[in-house]
């Protein structure tokens, strides 16, 4: 099972890594590579956050701290030494992870620090880390990285970022997959539901929380390290802004926190929205839509898109395909805008209460559960 999954991830990775070579053939603009790099970046961050929070239920608001440590590790080393930046990436991950483990070592021993208090504490950690880096490393000047040297086989700059972003995203998602399907994941889910009971039934909760936090922060640091190169100019205000932890949360909530694929889905969707609506004409729409979406998701779809899709795969997919066809036939313009509009439709469709599907759609289109039941009964015969 795990070997097959590994093979799957490798194949997906190789195929996608070849994607930049196909630019001439497919005729897509180079920006697609940057767009996808950002999708990979957010996927890594959201997925890494989810390894701790989605699985164990410890809601971290300070993911930006670990991402920021990664950014500053790479930025500081690249600007101050001759070390090739590829070597700084693992270090970025390790330093972020060390910080995470230090925090965890203190916090996870205190049973009262759950829920909002844990969230607040991690937020405070982010502020403290920002203040320390600001005073010790940055000094207010920021770090200008400029154009870093890198090995030729990775292609030109956007191809290199695409490939490295892809690699880190795959590593993170694969780690999330492994955790999800391992003893660690099972233990974390138990901690999520009832930590004291889990501990009483033999789950070594402290060790598991530390492992989850260590992994989570490692990948956040890794993604941050690479992102420093994309930023090319790094300053505290830009790196430690509150939008990083909030976006990560929003993505995971939207996609679904209980499954390793959830944050990936959320990251792709939110990044698409952001890109599609960055045109100033959509500015009000962008803010109101982001805010409104957040509220709507929490009120009407708290378990996230992945779970909803699983329950309503066939009706939702049918309607979504319909939208795709209409879009493709009828509307021109930027493709991410189309994509975003379509996604909005799909999300809206998914938010429609189950009752509606049961009474209206269910008569014409079979629900996934009923298909599942049919297949099962077929298999038993």
């Amino acid at each position: 099972m795990k070997w097959r999954a590994l093979l799957g991830f490798i194949i997906v990775g190789l195929v996608l890594a070849y994607f930049p070579e196909l630019r001439d053939m497919l005729g897509y603009p180079r920006y697609v590579l940057t767009f996808m790099y950002f999708a990979f970046f957010w996927t890594s961050l959201a997925t890494s956050w989810n390894i701790l929070t989605g699985y164990s239920g410890y809601f971290s608001f300070g993911h930006g701290a670990f991402y920021g440590v990664g950014v500053y590790t790479t930025a500081a080393i690249v600007t101050k030494t001759e070390l090739p930046f590829l070597l700084t990436l693992p270090l970025a991950g390790v330093l972020a992870s060390l910080l995470g483990l230090t925090v965890g070592f203190v916090v996870f021993r205190l049973p009262q620090l759950r829920g909002e208090l844990f969230a607040l504490l991690t937020l405070a950690v982010e502020f403290v880390v920002a203040a320390i880096l600001f005073n010790l490393v940055d000094g207010g000047y920021g770090l200008s990285i400029g154009r870093v040297p890198y090995p030729d086989f990775l292609g030109d700059f956007s191809e290199m970022m695409f490939r490295l972003g892809l690699l880190i995203a795959l590593l993170t998602v694969f780690a999330a997959y492994l955790v999800h399907h391992s003893r660690l994941g099972r233990g974390l889910f138990a901690i999520h539901d009832d930590e004291a009971v889990a501990e009483g039934l033999g789950v070594p909760t402290f060790r598991y929380k530390m492992m989850a936090l260590g992994l989570s922060t490692f990948f956040a640091g890794l993604a941050g390290g690479l992102h420093a190169v994309q930023l090319s100019y790094v300053d505290i205000g830009g790196v430690f802004k509150l939008t990083v932890p909030l976006f990560v949360i929003l993505m995971s909530l939207l996609g679904g926190r209980r499954h390793w694929l959830g944050p990936l889905i959320g990251a792709v969707i939110i990044h698409t929205f952001n890109d599609a609506f960055s045109d100033t004409r959509f500015q009000l729409l962008n803010d109101v839509a982001t805010g409104g979406l957040l509220i709507a998701i929490i009120l009407f779809m708290p378990e996230g898109i992945y779970e909803r899709l699983r329950q309503r795969l066939i009706p939702a997919a049918t309607l979504a395909l319909l939208v795709v066809v209409i879009q493709a036939l009828a509307i021109g313009g930027r493709i991410t805008v189309q994509f975003a509009v379509m996604l909005l439709f799909v999300i809206a469709l998914l938010m429609i209460p189950q009752r509606f599907y049961d009474t209206v759609i269910g008569r014409f289109v079979p629900s996934f559960e009923s298909v599942k039941a049919k297949i099962r009964s077929g298999a038993e015969e």
């Binding site: 099972r186 889910f189 138990a190 009832d194 004291a196 501990e199 009483g200 039934l201 789950v203 070594p204």
Partner: protein, 240 residues
């Protein structure tokens, strides 16, 4: 197999256990009784490591366990159930049991084996037809049995049952009694906390009575129930 030696537990200024000394021998069913607030649940919490005694020692199989984290105590062979069932609410019935099979004394088994064992334990407690349902679909009685399956799946040698029968109707109680005997006959030593005297006296091989954090009586059910101290504790001093 289990020895509590002069266990004291304070919460703030309140002394919940004022020096409890109890021994549980292998193969027994010990009935732990006492009025509300007498310290029964506190004692269980201290044995399972949920709370750490203020003073005193707890030995299990000759080893000091007080102060160990609960999961380590569980790995040594002690499991418990909760008075109000606390299932993992986002999992199915089977997954609930799988967790304890995976992490209990048998740790090191594969997830496949854990799943297999979970199904076996659900068969044992008669819940196998609910295996794939979310736990929210279970009624109280079934949840109590789920608690039991979960505790058993950790393969304990000592099982602490905290009011498994509270809130059940008479026929469910009878089923539970049968189930406990079944567990006992499979070789598990049991400490049972219970309010229903009829049940405890019929089940236990020995009884311990707590009052205000102290052991006030100990012995065979029929003798203990006649002890004036016990009667006084339950009915007030006037009846003693």
């Amino acid at each position: 197999m289990l020895t509590c030696h002069n266990v004291i537990k304070d919460f703030g200024g309140v002394r919940a256990l004022a020096g409890v000394t109890i021994t549980v021998h292998e193969g027994e069913i010990v009935g732990l009784v006492g009025p509300n607030g007498s310290g029964k649940s506190t004692l269980i919490n201290n044995i399972t490591g949920l709370t750490v005694p203020t003073a005193g020692g707890i030995q299990f199989l000759g080893q000091e366990i007080a102060g160990n984290p609960p999961h380590r105590i569980n790995h040594m062979g002690i499991a418990r159930t909760y008075q109000i069932p606390r299932p993992f609410s986002t999992m199915t019935v089977r997954e609930n049991v799988e967790i304890s099979a995976l992490f209990g004394m048998t740790q090191g088994i594969s997830q496949k084996e854990a799943k297999q064992q979970a199904i076996e334990w659900l068969d044992f407690t008669g819940l196998s037809s609910y295996a794939n349902l979310p736990v929210t679909k279970l009624n109280l009685h079934q949840r109590k049995f789920l608690e039991l399956s979960r505790a058993l799946a950790t393969k304990p040698s000592l099982l602490l049952l905290d009011e498994v029968m509270a809130g059940l109707n008479p026929s469910e109680i009878d089923e539970s009694v049968k189930m406990i005997r079944k567990v006992h006959s499979s070789g598990v030593t049991i400490v049972i906390v219970e309010h229903l005297m009829r049940v405890v006296t019929s089940l236990s091989t020995r009884m311990v009575v707590l009052d205000q954090g102290r052991v006030i009586a100990e012995g065979l059910p029929e003798t203990v129930m006649k002890d004036p101290l016990v009667v006084g504790a339950y009915l007030g001093k006037d009846y003693a």
